[in-house]
């Protein structure tokens, strides 16, 4: 709270109104990096004049775009000139070649089937991970018993990379599809659990006391105090979990027989189709980023209270 120093002039409600409004103005120009472009914009749109937006946020997006363009240009130059100084670009297809291959992929149907299968697997695995992760995390954060029982498993299993699970997943689960979903699920689960635990354990004890003195039951405290308080941390876990889900999907789809963007990438490697490898990689990166943004954006209403000047 930065408001203490202003308390004196703001105590009178009549005087308070304008200064209250004014105080919410400059906060939009704060220096934090807008990780959530859509979300932040949505919150501040009404107060931010277009000219100021161009000067601050607009410029930053321009720089970001240029940074990506620069990398593509360098890549193009390195590939066409056969750059070879420790790092070898001789066999790397240039962006122009990859682009041409991408166009031909986009005109066919196969490519979309790959994406569709992957999206489906990620969706199922992610929903399972979120449900299990939040429930386990809240249980661990609230109960010492639950934490002492579950935490050793998490600490032990977390460092195991997704690829290492492949043999067990095949042996334990009935279908190829369920094995892939299991591997993806595990990847997303750990960040969700750990962030939920972290958020729940940080619950402000004064707020719990306040709720108790207002007559709240244990369930009500969980619902009205603990969960909302943990929400920023949970949302961070959900976003990280989505990234890791895509990351693990690629490993899981090694065993896929036919479809999936991970399978597509591995298969292109086997068939020595270099442009397709890069298309597969970039597609995973792009889909992962999009899905993470989607998670953050859809969780945004849960966190609107964090925005300064948050009137709804």
């Amino acid at each position: 709270m930065d408001s203490k120093s202003n308390a004196a002039i703001r105590t009178d409600p009549v005087a308070a109104e304008p200064s209250h409004q004014a105080s919410s103005g400059p906060s939009t120009a704060r220096g934090s990096i807008p990780v959530l472009p859509m979300a932040q914009q949505a919150g501040n749109q009404s107060r931010l004049p277009a000219r100021v937006w161009m000067k601050t946020t607009g410029t930053r997006y321009l720089v970001r775009t240029l940074a990506l363009v620069a990398a593509v240009v360098l890549w193009q130059l390195a590939s066409t000139n056969g750059f070879h100084f420790y790092i070898n670009f001789d066999n790397i297809p240039a962006p122009s070649v990859v682009g041409a291959a991408l166009v031909s992929e986009l005109t066919g149907q196969e490519f979309y089937l790959h994406i569709l299968h992957s999206l489906q697997r990620v969706a199922i695995a992610y929903v399972l991970a979120v449900v299990f992760g939040v429930v386990l995390g809240v249980a661990m954060g609230r109960s010492r018993w639950a934490e002492d029982i579950i935490l050793p498993y998490i600490e032990l299993l977390r460092p195991i990379p997704a690829v290492a699970w492949i043999p067990l997943a095949i042996l334990m689960l009935p279908t190829e599809q369920s094995s892939i979903i299991f591997i993806t699920f595990l990847g997303a689960l750990f960040p969700v659990v750990l962030n939920t635990v972290h958020g729940v354990e940080q619950t402000n004890s004064v707020l719990i006391r306040a709720a108790r003195s207002l007559g709240a039951s244990k369930t009500a405290i969980l619902w009205h105090v603990v969960l909302p308080g943990a929400m920023p941390s949970i949302v961070a876990g959900l976003a990280i979990g989505m990234g890791v889900a895509w990351f693990s999907l690629l490993a899981g789809e090694i065993i896929s027989g036919q479809y999936g963007i991970g399978y597509y990438t591995w298969n292109s490697y086997t068939l020595i189709q270099y442009p397709q490898i890069i298309i597969g990689m970039l597609t995973i990166g792009g889909l992962g980023t999009l899905c993470t943004l989607l998670v953050r954006y859809s969780c945004n209403p849960l966190l609107k209270w964090q925005a300064k000047g948050g009137r709804s």
Binding site: S5, T11, V14, G310
Partner: protein, 292 residues
């Protein structure tokens, strides 16, 4: 009463049937606190720590009592025992004849600072107590609006607490505690984090609101001016171990306004408190020196 920023039409908006409900079935008033031979001991790394020793205190219904004492004298601990957050090692705390075992909405609590739910709007914060008491959404919201007008913050019903100044947040805290129509209001240094000017306005404000409800108030502070200005009675505590060392009646006329702060009567009472606390502090120092 005073020119504090409280809406003048509050009498019209207050639900007086609910206010009258604070009178018990047998016609006796609610809000009697009795603390009998209470010891409160905390287990610490270096062994048991006696926070409160042999506390005896009776507060009459509708009385405004300040617990005054230096930091660490156990005044907040004693209040937390009345609130039901802390269990005495021995002795008993009763409110209206019922032994206190856990916190409850009959004892409204106002904390020092940052106790509003940041994810709830101002109105949702105040409506929380009535909702927990089982009234419907509509009624809870209308109760909340009533109490927000009472503290002069109706215009901020939809704001989130982090957009309000410290003084405004404390007023929301008071409205939230009152929205349960508690028989006892427990206030733990509620204005301690505010600047001097805001604090005086908040004190006038509080007296104004209290004039409306006349429920029992137990107010913890280390500020002598504040204690004398607000209370009917000052209970002075001394540190290590926390003991009640004096019980001073404050017979200053009400309503009280800022001008009182410079009157001779006020000064005389303040001197009395200062002398008492000084004597006790010196005693404590000497004891500590002997022990060391």
């Amino acid at each position: 009463m005073s020119d504090a920023p409280v809406s003048n039409n509050r009498l019209a908006v207050l639900d007086h049937s609910r206010l009258r409900a604070k009178t018990g079935k047998d016609g006796s008033e609610r809000g009697r606190i009795s603390v009998r031979d209470v010891d409160i001991v905390f287990d610490t790394v270096s062994g048991p720590h006696v926070a409160v020793q042999q506390a005896n205190l009776t507060v009459r219904p509708g009385e405004f009592v300040c617990l005054l004492g230096p930091s660490g004298c156990g005044k907040s601990t004693l209040m937390n025992a009345i609130a039901g957050f802390v269990e005495p090692k021995c002795g008993e705390v009763q409110v209206d004849g019922t032994s206190v075992t856990e916190p409850g909405p009959d004892r409204g609590m106002v904390f020092q600072q940052h106790s509003l739910f940041p994810w709830k709007t101002v109105q949702e914060n105040v409506a929380f107590g009535p909702l927990m008491a089982g009234v419907g959404n509509n009624e809870a919201n209308s109760v909340a609006r009533t109490f927000l007008s009472l503290v002069g913050l109706a215009a901020f019903a939809n704001a989130y607490p982090n957009t309000l100044s410290g003084g405004m947040q404390q007023r929301v805290g008071i409205a939230r505690a009152l929205a349960n129509y508690p028989s006892v209001l427990l206030m733990d240094e509620p204005f301690g984090a505010l600047d001097a000017q805001t604090r005086i306005m908040m004190q006038e404000n509080l007296l104004d609101i209290w004039g409306e409800f006349h429920n029992t108030v137990v107010f913890v502070t280390h500020d002598i001016d504040e204690a004398v200005f607000l209370s009917d009675r000052i209970v002075v505590m001394s540190a290590s171990p926390g003991k009640i060392i004096a019980d001073i009646d404050v017979r200053l006329p009400r309503p009280r306004e800022q001008s009182l702060l410079t009157s001779p009567d006020f000064m005389a009472l303040k001197r009395q408190c200062l002398d008492l606390i000084r004597k006790e502090t010196l005693n404590a120092f000497q004891q500590q020196n002997k022990a060391g």
